[in-house]
Structures are given as structure tokens and as C-alpha cells.
Symmetry: C2
């Protein structure tokens, strides 16, 4: 249009989020596919919700850091305060609370939502990530805690990880509470103490000691540090406290269920304020990068924000970015083929309408097929296949259309076989490569 | 906490968006599953992107109405103008433009993104919906136009719709342009005229006539109306114009490919400004509700917003809400079973650790299995099954654990069969109910 400048719009995505080109999307689909398959094999049902939630949902429910510094929120045209969900737990608690009377218990649900946090983008920390959430509601049995952790461990195994590749650290908020009591730290300070302990790995030890002392006083600080870091918990607190037997039961169910890589970790707190019982966190055992992968815990009081009822709940969240890094580090990402099984290269003299009919016939046999309608030289069509990662190709010209005999070529092994559509389709479906859906 | 009021947070979702309880999510998964399966069978690859995009992406690229009145946008903490994508086409054009040199052509891509528009919520019009987008890039052949429309028709058929249940109306922006020229309407007014024609069905005829006259003048208005509404296009314009032969070719390819329910509709314009060639729109033929279902078209100039290159492009968007309504009206939604195959009811005396081992063994055979760990009476466990829609149940007590023989009950037919885990699993997998993934 007249007067329009020729200034180009950037092809970059918004800062801190990702574009998923087909090869990237295939990896996401593989990761989500494993998560989905395992969750469903344990009887968990998929649910979903919008990424937009009333901001009110997060106020004083998530951690303060999230709401104050990291949440994406805005006021809509109708003057409502809206947030892009930073985590899924408040949403699932809201949905379960809304229908708690009619839902058959236990409620076993999973979802793979995208979540937003305003963070400085860096490795493993993006502004948008996807996170598998697996939760069980309506049941306070230690079997609920253990089952959720077993699902988490099963997913790791189905990704190809061995028990020695990761360790499940486990603790209990009730036990932590008992330790705080023994150190004469008032209950009203407990959340602040948990948050500080949660940050321990991110600061030098003396800074941590000083922060603890200034938070609770010199003497209580010494006591709590002794319990947390010098096996004090194991030798005294764990034996004396009732809450410890619950934790022990969960650990025993896990071990009897084949989850041997679980260890009691008295300093494990988890960041969120809403946890009330057992908490766990999975770590990479790789010595060069012993990072935290994901975790979860029991949160029996969250539903009370919505209804006059406690709803027992236990769940975890497993993020795609961290898992992707883990799989890459441990060389567990499979080489994924294209979702297209067969590429039809078109000889220049071929009648495209007839080629389309052949493609249709392949499709009816369940073959995913793309036709090259680019009118390129045959050599160029075949060259583009290498980029496409399509496992098979067939070239169609007037002869093939007349004889109805097609020569299938494996693009990797270059092996060729000739036959009818039916015969060739059977060959194709037999050698189906790694795909997930 | 002291001083905290007991005010409850609402369990409602944000206005105009939906919660997907497992039974709703199953329907979404079914709909997405059909879309995905058909798109991939035609060789289209899945891509993805974030729902957040720079606002700049939509300025003067989408329709004015969207950017001014309907877009969700806000300023982030780093002072960037961000939008929640109202449509996917600018995103996919951005992504293709960014890698146009290395992408093998034709680029065949699909995605099922969620999109946001600030609308007054009403039936079929929500603030968030999901939309299948199927696009082909790098090719201007009429086969590209036709293939995309064939994919759309194939999806309708795979949903169970017959050719007589829907009609594909087709037109061409180039042909429209020629008609406008014949009516002496200047090219600079064309977008305004298209937008007005696009709204024709939403206003009384005399209002439409008056609006057209005041937009382009009495005489040109009469001329264009005659061409558009009194077969003027068919009898004169269509025969004379070069752009008509292209449209005819597309129609012929479609008919030769079995898409017989396609008709030329000279008043079809489509809302978006970026279309440059053939446009199409699919309508329900149901006389009580002959609504528009979805549509698309050619947009060869959009990529020029990003790079100094025209990239031929043709695509369509198919929304979940409209399709869901269509399937419901035509009674095409299947009765979906739970993703859980087997429910294990637990007799009170059973050792839960042993029951879990049995569940594991079923899982290894590929069975999705949920264990009732609720410690309820057996009768109550079985009652909850009806709500769950799980197709099979097995009750496990000490006898079953000892004898390793399990009685499988079909929860619908009440038929029972007894056997080992292996035998029972085989039965289960054979009668797999309608499920999509």
C-alpha cells in the first residue's frame, strides 16, 4: 500500500519461549507420549484447562516469590485480573473441589499443561514450559503417596533411565515440623524456615548459617542445623516421631514395589507453601550435574480454599525442559523418524491426478504418504528426502501407473522391493520405525 | 493463619474458557486424534509454538477488527508488547519465513493450537478455542489448493460425515478483484468491500445494499451486486477472466479426487485481509442450522512481512467448538470408553502390596489398570465403576492372589471369564473399545 514502509517484522518468537519445528515437535511428542502412556497405564485420566485463570487463584496459595515476581498477569477488557498459570496444582484443586461430591474416589488425573513464569531465560529455565502433572485425590492412605512416586519412577524407567541414573529423595513436612518444634522454633516461622532450607544449595554454607540464625535466633538455628545436617534426624527425631512411621511406611511400599533408589533426606522441603505431608524430589545422580529433576508431595489443605472440606491430595509435576536435558545428557533420546511413512516422487511425464489416486490407495492401507507436487527434477525430489527423514520413497511415472507395480526404496538402507500397493504397504507397516502416539 | 478470613475462592474458570474434565478431555482427544491422523496420512508434519507472540506480529496482518477489538494483549515486565495469539497463520508464516532457505519444499505442516479472542461468550463463540491449522508452503500449483481442500474434506469424512452433510463453497480473491474492476470500484477499496460482503449474512438485505452504496457509490454498488447475487459472475465474469480458469482447475482436481460437494460461490470472501487467491469455506447443509464450519485460502504475500521473498501458501483453520457442535448435531460423536481398561476392586482381606504386584503384571501386558486403594466396601467400589466407564473389572482377594486365577467382568454386558493374567489380558486387549490415540 502507498506510504507503507518496507520494514520487516522479526521472525523471532517472544523472548524465553520456543518455536517447535517439526523435528522439535517430534521430540516433544515422544516425551509427552511416554508420560501419557505410563500415566494411563496406572489408571490416570487426562484432564485439561485453559492457560488463563483468575489471578485470585494464586494469591497466597502458591509461593510468594511466584505471585510477586514471576507471575504473568494482566487486566482484561472487562476489568478482570487474569493470570497465565504458573503451575497446575491450583487449577486441578479448583476443578476437583468443584465436583468433589460426584467424582468417584480415588480421583486419578493427569495433564500436560504449558506454564508461564517471568524468569531470566537461561539453560533449563524458560518463560514457558510444559509439565506433566499427576495427582491422586480423595485418599490419604500411604499407598496414594507411594503410587504417585511409583508412577514417577516408572516414567523415568520407560524413558530408559536405570535406577542408578536417578535418586528419589523423600521427606515429610510433618517430620520437619516436629524437628522445628524440638528446636523451639515457633510454627508461625516454619514456612520461612522451609523456604530458607529449600534455598540452601544456592548459597555458601556460612551465609546459610547466618541467615538461619537471623531468622530464628542463634540457639534454635544451631539445633535445627544439627538435626538437618548431622544425621540428627535419623538418629533421634525419626525414631521418636509418629509422623516418621508414616514416612517409613511409604518408603517400605516403594521398596516392595521395586523402587529401590529412594532415600530419606531430612533437608528436603520443596518450594511450595501448600505441602502438608510427605514430599519428594528426584535428582540426577550424574556427578557432574547432580541437578534436581522434578518433585511433588502431599497437599491436603489446598481444596479448603474453595470448599468447606479437606480433600486429601498427592501429586507431582515433571517439566519437559529438565527431562529433555536429562535424556540428552544420558543419551536416552531415540532417533525419531518422520510421521510420514512414504514419499512419492513424481516423474515429469506422470499424470498428477493418477498419482493422487495411488496416494489415496496407500492412505487407505494406513500409510502416511506425501506427494511431491513441486514439479522439480526427479534428482532434486530425491535429494530433499534426506532432509525430510521419511523412511520410504517410491517414484511414480506412467509405467508404474499402468503396471500398478511400485518399487519401494528404504531411504536409509537403499534396499528396494517391488510389488502391488497392497504388498508394498504391508512391507511398509512391518518395518515401522520408532514413533510415538 | 491468624487473621485470615474464611472467604472461599471461586471454583469457576475464567470467563469464556473451558475446564476439561476427563470425559470432556476424552472428546477433545477424539476430535484432535481424527484431525491429527488425517493430516499425517497426507504427509503433514506437526509443529508448535507458544501462545505468546510479540503484538507486532498481528498489527496490519490480521483483520483490523481482531487487532483493535478482540486481541488479548499486555505489556510484560520488560516493557514488551505481548499478545495471546488470536490465530495461527501469522505464527506459521513467521516460522516458515525464518527457515525458508533450508526447508525442503513443499512444506506441509499442521498444528492444533489454542487461540484467544476477547468475545462476548455465546454458543460456538468462546474466548479460547483450539483450531487445527493445515498449511502448505512453497508451491503455487493448483494441486496445492486442491490438496488442502481434500485434506479438509477427508477429515470431515473420517469424522463420519457424508458428502451431503456439508458443502464446500469456493471462490477466488483474484476473481473478486476482477469483478470489482468491472464495477469500476478502485483496488484501494477492495478490502473494505470484501469485509462488507463477508458480513452480508449478518444484516438485512436493504441495510447491506445501503452500506454498499455508501461505500462505493450507487452505480458501482448496483453493478457489483448484480454480479455477486444474480449469477452475473457465472454467466459473464467467470467466462472472461483468466483467474477463473485457475479456480476451475482447482474445482476439477477436487471433483476428480472424489470431492463432489464443492460449489462456486461468487460472494464468498473470507474475513482475513491476507488472502490473495482461491478461498473456500465449508458449510453445514443442515437446513435448520446452515452455519459456516471453517475455511481457508491462499495467502502468498504474508511471508513478505518477514523476508524479501514471496512464499506461496495455502491453508485452513478448523475450530474444535464448531466441529464439536457439528458432530453433536449430526450424532457423529462416538461413545468413548475410559482410557483405563481394567479396574481392580480390592477385597478387604487382600494384601495391597500383593495386589499391586498383580496390577504391575497386567501393566506389563499393556493393560491400563487402576487399583482401588480407597479401603471401601466391595459393593461401593463396584458401584463407582458405573461412573468411571471403565470397560472391565476384576476383584482381587486372598484366593485370587494364591490361585493366580482372575475373574474378568465386562462392566457393560456383565459377562465373566476366568483365567491367568496372561489369558485375561489377551481377552481385554481383543475387545478394546473405541479409543483414539
Amino acid at each position: 500500500m502507498f506510504g507503507m514502509t518496507n520494514k520487516k517484522v522479526s521472525t523471532e518468537s517472544y523472548k524465553g519461549v520456543r518455536d517447535f519445528y517439526p523435528e522439535d515437535q517430534a521430540v516433544q511428542n515422544y516425551i509427552f507420549g511416554v508420560m501419557r502412556k505410563v500415566a494411563e497405564s496406572w489408571g490416570y485420566l487426562e484432564y485439561g484447562a485453559s492457560v488463563l485463570e483468575p489471578l485470585e487463584l494464586y494469591k497466597s496459595k502458591s509461593s510468594e516469590e511466584i505471585v510477586n515476581d514471576q507471575i504473568y498477569s494482566f487486566t482484561d477488557r472487562g476489568d478482570r485480573e487474569v493470570a497465565l498459570r504458573p503451575e497446575m496444582t491450583p487449577t486441578v484443586a479448583r476443578m476437583v473441589a468443584a465436583r468433589i461430591q460426584e467424582l468417584p474416589k480415588p480421583v486419578r488425573w493427569y495433564s500436560i499443561p504449558n506454564l508461564f513464569r517471568y524468569e531470566k531465560p537461561q539453560r533449563g529455565r524458560l518463560r514457558e514450559h510444559w509439565q506433566l502433572n499427576v495427582d491422586i485425590f480423595g485418599i490419604s492412605s500411604p499407598y496414594a503417596d507411594a503410587e504417585i512416586i511409583m508412577v514417577a519412577a516408572d516414567i523415568m524407567k520407560k524413558f530408559g533411565a536405570k535406577n542408578e541414573d536417578f535418586v528419589i529423595k523423600i521427606n515429610s513436612r510433618e517430620l520437619l515440623q516436629a524437628m522445628l518444634k524440638k528446636a523451639s522454633i515457633p510454627e508461625s516461622d516454619s514456612l520461612l524456615v522451609y523456604r530458607l532450607i529449600d534455598k540452601k544449595e544456592k548459597m555458601p554454607e556460612d551465609e546459610f548459617r547466618r541467615s538461619m540464625a537471623s531468622l530464628v535466633g542463634e540457639e534454635p538455628a544451631e539445633k535445627i542445623l544439627e538435626m538437618l545436617y548431622f544425621d540428627g534426624a535419623l538418629t533421634t527425631v525419626f525414631r521418636e516421631e509418629a509422623s516418621a512411621s508414616r514416612l517409613e511406611e511409604v518408603i517400605n511400599i516403594l521398596k516392595s514395589g521395586g523402587v529401590s533408589n529412594v532415600v530419606f533426606e531430612p533437608t528436603l522441603t520443596r518450594g511450595f507453601d501448600y505441602y502438608t505431608g510427605v514430599v519428594f524430589e528426584v535428582f540426577d545422580t550424574n556427578k557432574e550435574n547432580p541437578r534436581s529433576l522434578f518433585g511433588g508431595g502431599r497437599y491436603d489443605n489446598l481444596a479448603e480454599n474453595f470448599v468447606n472440606e479437606k480433600i486429601p491430595a498427592f501429586g507431582f509435576g515433571m517439566g519437559d525442559v529438565t527431562i529433555h536435558d536429562f535424556l540428552e545428557t544420558h543419551e536416552l533420546l531415540p532417533d525419531l523418524a518422520s510421521s510420514t511413512d512414504l514419499y512419492i516422487a513424481v516423474a515429469p511425464e506422470a499424470d498428477l491426478a493418477e498419482v493422487y489416486k495411488v496416494a489415496d490407495a496407500f492412505r487407505e492401507k494406513g500409510v502416511n504418504v506425501a506427494v511431491d507436487i513441486g514439479n522439480k527434477k526427479l534428482a532434486d525430489q530425491l535429494k530433499s528426502l534426506e532432509k525430510n527423514k521419511v523412511p520410504f520413497v517410491v517414484t511414480i511415472g506412467p509405467t508404474e501407473i499402468e503396471t500398478k507395480q511400485f518399487t519401494l526404496r528404504n531411504t536409509k538402507t537403499r534396499e528396494e522391493k517391488t510389488g502391488s500397493i497392497e504388498e508394498v504397504s504391508r512391507l511398509l507397516m512391518d518395518v515401522e520405525p520408532t514413533r510415538f502416539r
